[in-house]
């Protein structure tokens, strides 16, 4: 909502500077988003009249003009084509400066020769003057412009003014009006709100018909109040300067006197008005113009003021005459009854339309107007008649004519002012203040919120608890519904900045998730400590990317912004692939990332312990941890050692092992999948007991190519919810061994298919006495070995906690173990 300082001052006195006003309004809840000072502009720009226009002797596209500037004639060279001799245009005189364009230096006009002809000034386009409008062509002024008048004066900007741009919250439709804002200022200053005098109210006629107009209200629910007023003998003409200027200052285009008045009164009071050309309305049986408020027929066509044909539904409300629709109620008038230069009789509508219905219509047709904006937020049902009279006064003043008959009104059940009980104690309890009942009521009274039911208190009555009072709510305050809303009003007027802040105190917070939050943070810290950077991927990804990991089963959006973001991620891996691609495209070739985040799975396909509530058709939300590695394993080092070493699957596995062990998850197994997956060339299912945790593997080369990835890409993703549920981070002390260990090494040839796990299994079954640890220290394949065999070398450490082992004891245990290797693994022990 835009409003000017001078306009506000018509309704309330205050002596603040514009900056102080902006500050006060902001602190009242009307945030001032912009403040623009007007006046003092257009120095050296005057209204001039073109006397002759001839072609420039040396240039086809230029013309050579003689113009009258009020003091004398000048020769001007001009490049515009939209004017003729006799037009009045703005002329900037030599020595004056055009308003600077943003980011450019201002241009000062000089007398100079253009293609050999002297130009003593310049005729201006709206853009050159910094006004609304095009850069093609001159600004053609009204015919009644006075030649020689300062241009600023012509615009009515002779006096200085300040335009304030306010953000009005949707709960306060009453503030979408100058009077509404002035009322707030009046409340703060204690000064009187000066409402304009309205001459002819004559609203005593509460019938639906006068001897000039008939109103037939068919939909009182969608239109609880409708008023119409006929004015005869108007003459449509440009608005007087004061009116046109006031509208233009706040960015509303001036159209003609009658339309401008309706706009002006809407901005002034917040009540949208519509003016019909009454001669274009069909007469009904009584020979009177009849206004019918009815629903549209399903599929009814209607051309709105903007020339667009609209197809309506039966939920939409129309203003019609006996034969045709003439306005889309509360949204926009019709093309067929618009005020035009021949209009002599004006029918003025001032009504209250149901906010939900106006919103629905406006949304359905994608048609928004200043009027629909106000109605859908809630207009003041009590204001219709007053605003109508105000507009009638101004129309008669600016367009001549006189009201024909009184206000005709359909208002079947007049709104009763709301009443809200208020306990003074509640105000203080909630705000943390100690205001007296008198103070509280005084603040409310300043906002026209008055106590209606105070019982006189006997003077001799003993002081007791303060009785609650009832507050009467004026119709313009549609936002005030219950006691708490009155508390807010007191807070606003008292000033939030004056409420003292109290030191934090009170109950300790408790929530089951609190500990989980820390565990997740711990997982993050471990992974960062392992050298991985934390990534955050998009939740919304493309269906194509999702299907790399999830097949067809994904959670899709009903109203995506684009096909790049049309499903919820079923995995963190597509996001990490996007991150790898971004990095490689920016020449960051060595990338090691992790992400902890939620994925979304369709209810049937979900598994594990989702974060979301169970049951229903709700998607499962599951926390995951994922890792992606590509490029070099080590940062560049100047000795060149391992310079070209790239991440491989064992880097990834080592990260997982270290992370899981540190996080307190034991007993994880890695089971190779015999087949590749759509995403992974070779991969293992990671399991905790029988519970699937996730996967690790190497990305399919075809997908790597699609993501512009060159080196091997290693990916892992695990279900974090399971890790959180199954982790055991309890720590118990075990005595540090003090007795000496005995180490025995074994190198053995085994068939290629023998896994490390198979070796460990033999060890676990054999249970050698005093075995402390097993370490694999070499795997070797070579020419000197039988085909299909590999050598695996293990170090076994034997130690007893109670006594020093003898060589013989260790050897005996070890030899039994080696025998098992030979039997169960077909191992040949290399001596």
């Amino acid at each position: 909502m835009k409003v000017t300082l001078n306009w506000l001052k018509q309704y309330v006195e205050f002596d603040w500077t514009p900056e102080q006003l902006a500050e006060r309004l902001t602190m009242l809840g009307l945030e001032v988003e912009g403040l623009q000072k007007l006046g003092g502009e257009f120095q050296g720009v005057v209204v001039a009249q073109v006397i002759t226009r001839d072609k420039h002797p040396n240039a086809d596209k230029l013309s050579l003009c003689r113009v009258q500037d009020g003091k004398g004639e000048r020769q001007i060279v001009c490049g515009a084509h939209n004017f003729k001799a006799g037009d009045k245009v703005p002329l900037i005189l030599p020595g004056a400066t055009l308003p600077a364009k943003p980011g450019e230096a201002p241009v000062t006009i000089k007398v100079g020769k253009i293609r050999g002809c002297e130009s003593q000034g310049m005729l201006c386009s709206p853009q050159e003057l910094g006004l609304e409008g095009g850069k093609e062509g001159l600004l053609i002024l009204r015919e009644d412009a006075q030649v020689g008048q300062a241009f600023a004066e012509y615009l009515g900007r002779g006096e200085s003014d300040v335009v304030l741009d306010l953000e009005i919250t949707p709960n306060r439709p009453d503030l979408n009006s100058v009077i509404g804002i002035a009322r707030e200022i009046a409340a703060v200053t204690g000064n009187r709100l000066k409402m304009p005098e309205v001459g002819d109210q004559r609203s005593e006629v509460r019938g639906q018909r006068s001897d000039t107009v008939l109103v037939r209200l068919e939909e009182p629910e969608l239109c609880p109040r409708y008023t119409a007023r006929l004015i005869r003998g108007v003459k449509i003409a440009p608005s007087p300067a004061w009116l046109a200027t006031m509208l233009e200052k706040i960015g509303v285009r001036s159209i003609n006197n009658v339309v401008d008045v309706t706009n002006y009164v809407m901005l002034e009071t917040g009540q949208p008005l519509h003016a019909f050309d009454c001669q274009l309305l069909a007469r009904g049986n009584h020979g009177l113009p009849t206004v019918v408020v009815r629903r549209a027929a399903e599929g009814e066509k209607f051309i709105t003021l903007d020339g667009q044909e609209r197809t309506l539904t039966s939920r939409m409300l129309l203003i019609a005459d006996e034969s045709k629709a003439v306005a889309l109620a509360g949204v926009m008038g019709g093309h067929n009854s618009e005020i035009n230069l021949n209009t002599g009789e004006v029918l003025l509508e001032s009504a209250y339309f149901n906010p939900q219905n106006v919103r629905a219509t406006s949304k359905k047709l994608d048609l928004r107007s200043e009027s629909s904006y106000r109605f859908e937020r809630g207009a003041d049902i009590g204001l219709c008649a007053w605003a109508s009279s105000r507009a009638v006064d101004l129309i008669c003043q600016t367009a001549g004519g006189a009201p024909a008959g009184p206000l005709v009104e359909a208002y079947p059940s007049p709104a009763q002012p709301k009443q809200i009980p208020l306990r003074h104690t509640k105000v203080n309890e909630l705000l943390g203040l100690e205001l007296s009942p008198e103070q509280i009521e005084a603040y409310l009274a300043q906002l026209e919120l008055k106590v209606v039911n105070r019982k006189p208190r006997p003077v001799e009555a003993a002081p007791g608890p303060i009785e609650p009072v009832t507050i009467r709510i004026p119709t313009f305050r549609v936002d005030l519904k219950r006691e708490i809303d009155l508390v807010e009003e007191v807070a606003r007027l008292y000033g939030v900045e004056r409420i003292p802040a109290s030191a934090p105190r009170g109950a300790l917070g408790l929530n089951d998730f609190d500990a989980v939050h820390d565990q997740i943070a711990e997982a993050r810290a471990l992974l960062a400590g392992l050298g991985l950077d934390e990534a955050q991927g998009q939740t919304l990804i493309s269906e194509a990317a999702a299907q790399l990991v999830a097949g067809a089963e994904v959670v899709a959006l009903a109203n995506p912004l684009s096909s790049d973001m049309n499903v919820l991620r079923p995995s963190l891996l597509p996001g990490l692939l996007d991150a790898l691609r971004h990095n490689l495209n920016h020449k960051n070739y060595d990338v090691a990332l992790f992400e902890l985040g939620r994925v979304f799975l369709p209810p049937a396909a979900g598994q594990g312990t989702g974060a979301g509530p169970a049951g229903g058709a709700r998607p499962l939300e599951e926390r995951r941890v994922a890792i992606a590695l590509t490029g070099r394993r080590h940062p560049l080092f100047w000795t060149g050692e391992e310079r070209e070493a790239r991440f491989d699957i064992y880097d990834l596995k080592g990260l997982l092992e270290e992370f899981l062990e540190r996080f307190g998850v034991r007993g994880v197994t890695y089971n190779r999948r015999s087949e590749g997956t759509p995403l992974l060339l070779e991969s293992a299912l990671v399991q905790l007991g029988r519970l699937p945790l996730g996967s690790l593997g190497q990305l399919q080369p075809s997908i790597a190519r699609r993501y512009d990835l060159r080196d091997a890409v290693l990916l892992a993703e695990l279900n974090l919810d399971i890790l959180l549920a199954r982790r055991n981070s309890a720590k118990t002390f075990r005595a540090v061994p003090v007795l000496p260990p005995i180490r025995r090494d074994v190198a053995m040839l085994v068939p290629e298919a023998t896994t490390h796990e198979a070796v460990l299994q033999v060890v676990r079954q054999a249970k050698p006495a005093n075995l402390e640890s097993v370490e694999l220290f070499d795997i070797f394949r070579g020419k000197n070995m039988p085909a299909g065999q590999k050598s695996m070398a293990y170090a076994f450490t034997y130690r007893s906690a109670e006594r020093t082992l003898t060589d013989a004891e260790a050897t005996s245990a070890h030899e039994k173990l080696v025998e098992q290797f030979k039997q169960k693994l077909q191992a040949t022990v290399r001596e």
């Binding site: 943390g432 939030v496 030191a503 934090p504 810290a525 400590g529 939740t539 058709a617 998607p619």
Partner: protein
């Protein structure tokens, strides 16, 4: 030549040879030559027993002194040679880069979230969590958002594709939905903090991403006042943005709080951005209707809630000018935090 006379020249020769040894091997060899079982000095010692009884004390004393001297010299030489051997051939260039062990870094949004969590926890808040896929009840209705409120438009909110007839599901537009879920399950007092992802149907640009993060604080107790809200907000923002931070409350409108306020802050950060006050959060006293919706008695309990965007805090704090940087995961960006 008597034994006594032989001692000095032999000792001198031995010393010279020991001192001349260039490395440990040569030194060991020299030691063997003189002091070893068949060494020249050892041979001299062996002659002692052959001397007449009266000469023995003097010769013995002299030999012993010489032997001690040689042994001392030997250990000195050994230390010298070892030291020489330990030193690298060329002096170390301590300006060369070392072999770096790289630590990963936590995402800046994680770091800011953790800072926020830490400051709230000092006041006794517990972290809570809830689903990102929500129903209209928890995201809007229970929060007193009117049925025709523009926030519910498919223009502004992502809805999930759902089989016909099912109640629509959506991506939560704010973390306030978790307020409702927690209050439904928990009797007051409540003191929680909810960080998490939220979604608005905005095309990505420098200041928008369809997914972003919010944090929401909720406190419900007996006798909670606007003053308490101010006290907590001031504490938290001073913790987050520095002790010289100033806070301003402006009346505003949210459907689920009454009175409602917007919070502006002012610090050297805002002045660097050319503004005295910068809007940073919304807050207010929990609307009695919201309490009624979750079965709390608004006469017995009062409370406040406030919420703000984590990206916005991170952008202001670090001077980041484009929200998309948070989701591109460029390692040159991530590594800065």
């Amino acid at each position: 030549m008597s034994l006594l006379d032989e001692i000095e020249p032999l000792k001198a020769a031995a010393l010279a040879e020991l001192r001349a040894a260039p490395d440990i091997a040569a030194l060991e060899q020299a030691k063997g030559q003189w002091l070893g079982a068949h060494g020249k000095f050892t041979a001299l010692l062996k002659q002692l027993s052959a001397l007449p009884k009266e000469d023995k004390p003097a010769a013995g004393k002299a030999l012993n002194a010489a032997k001690l001297e040689l042994e001392a010299a030997l250990s000195q030489c050994r230390a010298d040679v070892e030291l020489k051997a330990a030193l690298p051939q060329e002096p170390t260039d301590f300006t060369l880069p070392g072999r770096r062990r790289v630590l990963g870094s936590l995402h800046p949004l994680t770091q800011v979230t953790e800072d926020i969590v830490r400051s709230f926890r000092k006041l006794g808040f517990a972290v809570a969590d809830g689903p990102e896929v929500e129903d209209e009840y928890h995201c809007f209705d229970a929060l007193n958002t009117p049925a025709d409120h523009p926030a519910r438009d498919t223009q502004d909110t992502f809805y999930l594709r759902s089989p016909g007839g099912a109640a629509p599901l959506l991506l939560r537009t704010h973390t306030s939905s978790v307020q409702i879920r927690v209050m439904e399950k928990q009797r007051p007092p409540v003191r929680i903090l909810v960080p998490g992802r939220v979604y608005r149907r905005d095309n990505a640009d420098a200041t928008h991403n369809p997914a972003f993060h919010q944090v929401e604080g909720l406190y419900v107790d007996h006798d909670v006042t606007v003053g308490d809200l101010k006290g907590t907000v001031e504490f938290v923002f001073k913790e987050l943005m520095g002790p010289e931070t100033r806070i301003r409350f402006r009346p505003h409108y949210f459907s689920y709080t009454e009175p409602s306020f917007e919070i502006d802050f002012s610090s050297s950060l805002t002045r660097k951005m050319g503004k005295e006050w910068l809007e940073i959060a919304g807050c207010g006293m929990v609307h009695p209707q919201v309490f009624e919706n979750v079965g709390y008695d608004p006469e017995a309990w009062t409370g406040w809630a406030f919420g703000f965007g984590i990206e916005r805090i991170a952008m202001i704090r670090y001077g980041i000018n484009d929200i998309r940087l948070f989701y591109e995961n460029d390692i040159r960006f991530l590594g800065q935090f």
